[in-house]
């Protein structure tokens, strides 16, 4: 696997308009993001050979967006793993580039779920063994995981709340963030309980937005305008679809995907400078920090105490403000990568992590179902 390290580089990243986009549709959002990402890299649309996309905006995603953008790809991949789809797309793009199938790939995503008032998961088929019990989707699944984590490891609601508070502090430094303002641990604990032990402010935002990433071969990267951000390591897996089939409610697939990504990159967790992990809910962050090896299993709650993961803390995490405070248009994985790349390029202004050379992005989709890890580095 290590032979796949540093074979491909991300040379373009962009968001579309975020937050509430009014009557803009998901294809428009993807087109705006794709155009910005390609222009940043200095790559013409005609040079795009591979297209990757996922999400409930279309039935056949890559065919839909490729047609809209006038792209006739030689490689097409709509791998759909929920929030982590785009980290999986990076792994697949690296494989395709290494195999010599293409040099230039475009990854896109877009959603207008907030403006259209679409419920998360509403396009998912009825599961006869879950639906009768009224578990709110997807928060109830995460609540079950949080409850068990508390029982086994003594994790406290205050520790979960620290994750949301830190995210808000980062968002306050990000001009593009949707949710801003002061937020204290007590505010999270006093927000309405949705599905115990998770409160409203333990849950990610519901926003509109789109994103795009351009990833190219090392040969092509030399011609691009931006500093190449190399893919050092990748890993992917999924352990279940429905929460009732999760092998262990407190152990996610990040253990496996992370281990593979670190092995491919030849790095250890303590060699990562900036971390972006999926924060659909506060518990999601705790589980990933443990499973990726940043702390021991069960220590995640104590790990995030005293705002260690906030601006000024010793462990810069989700520096965009994350899905909890920056944006969360249904699937957040592409935005983890966008922020990771920008941190390594040193473009993050007030929220810039000094001298960041390595970044880890971990997407998580479904109800703790899929996990895909990407480790990035600069020259």
């Amino acid at each position: 696997m290590s032979k796949l390290s540093r074979q491909a580089a991300i040379v373009g990243v962009a968001e579309s308009e975020l937050g509430k986009v009014g009557d803009k549709n998901p294809l428009q959002l993807q087109a705006m993001a794709a155009r910005a990402a390609l222009r940043e890299a200095g790559i013409e649309k005609q040079e795009v050979e591979a297209i990757f996309s996922a999400g409930p905006y279309a039935y056949l995603q890559t065919m839909t967006i490729a047609e809209y953008l006038g792209i006739t790809p030689k490689y097409s991949d709509s791998t759909s793993l929920g929030g982590s789809s785009f980290e999986a797309h990076i792994e697949h793009a690296v494989a395709g580039i290494y195999a010599g199938l293409f040099d230039v790939a475009l990854i896109t995503y877009g959603s207008n779920q907030r403006s259209k008032r679409v419920r998360p998961g509403s396009s998912i088929a009825v599961n006869p063994f879950e639906a009768p019990y009224g578990m709110p989707f997807p928060v109830g699944g995460y609540a079950l995981a949080a409850q068990r984590h508390m029982e086994l490891y003594g994790t406290k609601p205050e520790q979960l709340a620290e994750v949301a508070v830190a995210a808000r502090k980062w968002a306050n430094l990000n001009p593009k963030a949707y949710a801003k303002g002061e937020l204290a641990v007590e505010d999270v604990l006093n927000s309405p309980l949705i599905s115990s032990p998770l409160h409203a402010l333990d849950c990610c935002l519901v926003t509109d937005g789109g994103g795009a990433i351009v990833i190219v071969s090392d040969r092509k990267a030399k011609e691009c305008r931006t500093k190449p951000i190399w893919v050092l390591g990748t890993g992917e897996t999924h352990t279940h679809l429905n929460i009732s089939e999760m092998p262990d409610l407190t152990i996610t697939g990040a253990r496996e995907s992370g281990e593979r990504a670190f092995a491919m990159a030849g790095l250890r967790p303590d060699e990562i400078d900036v971390v972006q992990v999926y924060d659909s809910f506060t518990i999601t962050v705790i589980l990933q920090l443990e499973d990726l090896g940043f702390c021991e299993k069960g220590e995640g709650g104590r790990f995030v105490e005293n705002q260690r993961i906030a601006p000024g803390g010793t462990f810069p995490l989700n520096t965009s403000g994350g899905g909890l405070s920056y944006c969360h248009p249904g699937l957040f994985g592409i935005f983890l990568l966008i922020e990771g790349v920008r941190q390594l390029r040193g473009e993050c202004g007030e929220r810039q992590v000094k001298n960041a050379r390595t970044a880890l992005c971990n997407g998580m989709g479904g109800v703790l179902s899929s996990s895909c890890t990407v480790i990035l580095g600069r020259d």
Partner: protein, 133 residues
């Protein structure tokens, strides 16, 4: 609408399970080849892909996790709030999502013993829920 949507999914994988609820029995599957039980029902054993047979669960298990639902988005459950969603590990091994009924939330503890309860009907069938032993 919920009941109709769920019952519309009944097919040859799941029909025996639903029919058994009318007799207040919880049907799960057993694989004689690898000696494991499974739930939800499938045409093959998810462990070894052998043929499986139906068996009646003893209906006893342990509370694996739970959540008290305070807010729902689905109008079918608005009247029920608050209620307890539970994950139960059957003594035979498989886990299932369910409701815990007949319990005050203060008394609910992970690891407590539970048993199946068919007191709530679901269309012409009965819902598989659990209550404290």
């Amino acid at each position: 609408m919920l009941v109709e949507d769920v019952l519309n999914t009944i097919d040859s994988d799941t029909r025996p399970f639903w029919e058994a609820t009318k007799r207040r029995e919880l049907l799960i599957q057993y694989c004689p080849t690898c000696n494991t039980h499974q739930f939800y029902p499938r045409i093959v054993c998810k462990n070894c892909l052998s043929d499986v047979e139906w068996t009646t669960s003893k209906g006893k298990g342990t509370l694996y996790s739970f959540s008290e639902v305070q807010k729902v988005f689905n109008p079918d459950f608005k009247e029920k709030v608050p209620f307890i969603v539970a994950m139960v590990e059957l003594d035979e091994g498989p886990r299932m999502l369910t409701n815990l009924v007949g319990a005050e939330i203060e008394d609910v503890k992970i690891g407590m013993k539970v048993q199946v309860d068919f007191s709530e009907s679901f269309g012409e069938y009965n819902l598989v829920q659990f209550r404290p032993v």
